[in-house]
């Protein structure tokens, strides 16, 4: 019998549990959860603020998930050390848990720059966890002015979630555009305009340098008064457990396509890792929920002695703000194909006969066909790309390929 330990209880952990159980129905699985919640859908915290979901519906799996999967849970506990020699993980209360295989699924933590005077701000919050969200909800009322530091995915979804529940929302970011990690300048301008039309105010290319209670001194010399501060500058992978015992890390814990770390019997999955982005051909942190699940599942299968590789990771995001949908994937390099209407923008990037990336705003039907071209590295000369670039459609595949897809003909 094996003895699995999973450090972390997010979506990567859930994937790991399901991966293990697809191979091994019997061995014990122990899950260490820092948060006092069963696995929940972290990206839904902004939808919670919008009243589009609630904590019960935010549960990622059914109430009997851990029981059904035969998992022992340690809630509110933190792993402080992995003793690789004796194969034990050590908890903050001194408990030692033996393992045959361990999966590090520790996620990431908010990165908070050392702002001067931050300790004088009474109402401040990160926006990463359910508990952050409850705290933020408590801190605001309909008269609040909220300053959000960070115009990335987290900061902007927070702004959308707070919209209608507070008096004013200002978002600042040192970058000169919103969503700078996934949008180019033109695309960012469209999204920014849409957010502004919905009442969100921006201070871009500018950030807070000093706080004094309810006032932020900006880099530009301006002053912003606020009631509540949200810190959404960025996140950093939680790598310490692996780093401390000499495992290979860069920004994240380095994993191969089996989700093995450089250390024996120690696997890693999710936002704490750095795996290969096949659109870029390099390792990078891909802190995305689908990636976390697939990495977790792969780790679980391999921990249990099965064989699974995850070698199709790419950055990909589907994100909407006030009804405007944006989908992005891959890497924005190579030749640009563009289509623009009053309400939509499409940018496809091709290089070396492959689709490498895209940004779609407003019109997103059947985008998964584009995503699959990137993931599968489909040579564009094997499809009717002239048709495909105009509209994502399986008509652009060869008849044989289509018969295989829709006729079950192998």
């Amino acid at each position: 019998m094996k003895q699995y330990v999973i450090i972390g209880n997010g979506v990567a952990a859930a994937g790991c549990i399901e991966g293990i159980r697809s191979v091994d129905k019997d061995s014990k699985i122990t899950v260490i959860s820092e948060e006092n919640h069963p696995v929940y859908c972290r990206p839904l915290i902004s939808y919670y603020l919008e009243n589009k979901t609630d904590p019960e519906r935010m549960n990622y799996r059914s109430a009997d998930f851990y029981e059904k999967m035969g998992c022992d849970l340690f809630y509110g506990k933190k792993v402080i050390h992995i003793d690789a020699d004796s194969q034990k993980v050590v908890l903050d209360d001194g408990t030692k848990l033996p393992y045959t295989e361990v999966c590090v699924a520790t996620g990431s933590a908010p990165f908070v720059p050392p702002f001067e005077g931050l300790n004088t701000v009474e109402k401040k919050s990160n926006f990463m966890t359910l508990d952050d969200t409850f705290a933020l909800e408590k801190a605001i009322d309909k008269d609040s002015n909220v300053l959000i530091v960070g115009a990335g995915l987290i900061g902007l979804k927070c702004a959308e979630g707070l919209h209608g529940r507070v008096a004013g929302i200002t978002v600042c970011d040192l970058a000169d555009r919103v969503l700078s990690s996934i949008l180019d300048t033109d695309c960012a301008a469209i999204v920014q305009k849409h957010l502004e039309a919905n009442g969100i105010q921006f201070m871009l290319g500018d950030t807070a340098v000093r706080f004094e209670k309810n006032s932020a001194q900006m880099k530009s010399g301006k002053t912003v008064e606020f009631d509540t501060l949200v810190l959404a500058v960025g996140v950093r992978p939680n790598t310490a457990l692996v780093k401390d015992i000499g495992g290979e890390i860069n920004r994240g814990i380095i994993v191969n396509e089996h989700m093995e770390t450089s250390l024996e019997n120690i696997y890693a999955a999710g936002d704490c890792t750095e795996g290969k982005d096949i659109s870029l051909g390099q390792k990078r942190v891909l802190a995305l929920l689908p990636n976390a699940y697939m990495q977790g599942h792969t780790a679980g299968v391999n921990m249990a002695g099965g064989e699974e590789v995850f070698d199709k990771a790419i950055p990909m995001n589907s994100i909407g703000f006030f009804g405007l949908h944006v989908m992005t994937a891959g890497t924005y390099e190579g030749e640009l194909y563009e289509e623009k209407t009053d309400s939509s923008l499409k940018r496809l990037f091709t290089k070396d006969g492959l689709l490498k990336g895209f940004i779609l705003i407003g019109k997103t039907e059947r985008t998964g066909i584009y995503t699959s071209l990137i993931r599968e590295k489909t040579p564009l000369d094997t499809i009717d790309f002239k048709t495909m670039k105009k509209v994502a459609t399986s008509v652009a595949f060869s008849p044989e390929n289509r018969r295989k897809k829709f006729g079950g003909v192998v």
Partner: protein
């Protein structure tokens, strides 16, 4: 396991499957009341060009990437059927971003709906198959894994 398959040589591109799908999932007993004069949001759609047409609906994949990618834990696969829990879905469209077949589209409110083989609606069997005038959509066993 049994799946829906299309025969593009036989598809007339008549779009009847779209109407039968929308009706079967409307919960109503009269087709005219359910559909007349309203935009329809079927879970199957016709694609094609001037030479060929065929119906596209969920493949109920053996290894469904939509299930693995859903940020709301709203898509699951049970007894070979990929289902969406509309109560959990928040309409983020991540499933649309990842479905390699382009099978998925939201309902009129922006929440996801999908082909669930009509097993739980009033039709009880795939309405697109039942109503296809040229047997261009079939529901049968072709030896694919569940």
């Amino acid at each position: 396991m049994k799946r829906i398959y299309v025969n593009e040589e036989w598809c007339l591109g008549c779009h009847l499957c779209e109407y039968n799908c929308a009706f079967a999932n409307s919960g109503m007993t009269d087709m005219a009341t359910a559909l007349k004069g309203k935009p329809i949001y079927p879970r199957i759609h016709i694609e094609g060009n001037d030479k060929v047409s065929y119906a596209v609906s969920c493949r109920h994949c053996t290894d469904p990437i939509c299930v693995k990618s859903c940020i709301a834990g709203a898509i699951s696969k049970t007894d070979g059927v990929v289902r969406v829990d509309k109560n959990k879905c928040v309409g983020c469209l991540t499933c649309v971003l990842v479905c390699p077949y382009g099978s998925l589209a939201p309902d009129e409110s922006g929440i996801m709906q999908k082909c669930e083989l009509c097993l739980q609606n009033t039709c009880g069997e795939p309405a697109c198959v039942k109503g296809c005038p040229n047997r261009a959509i079939v529901y049968e066993e072709r030896g694919e894994d569940e």
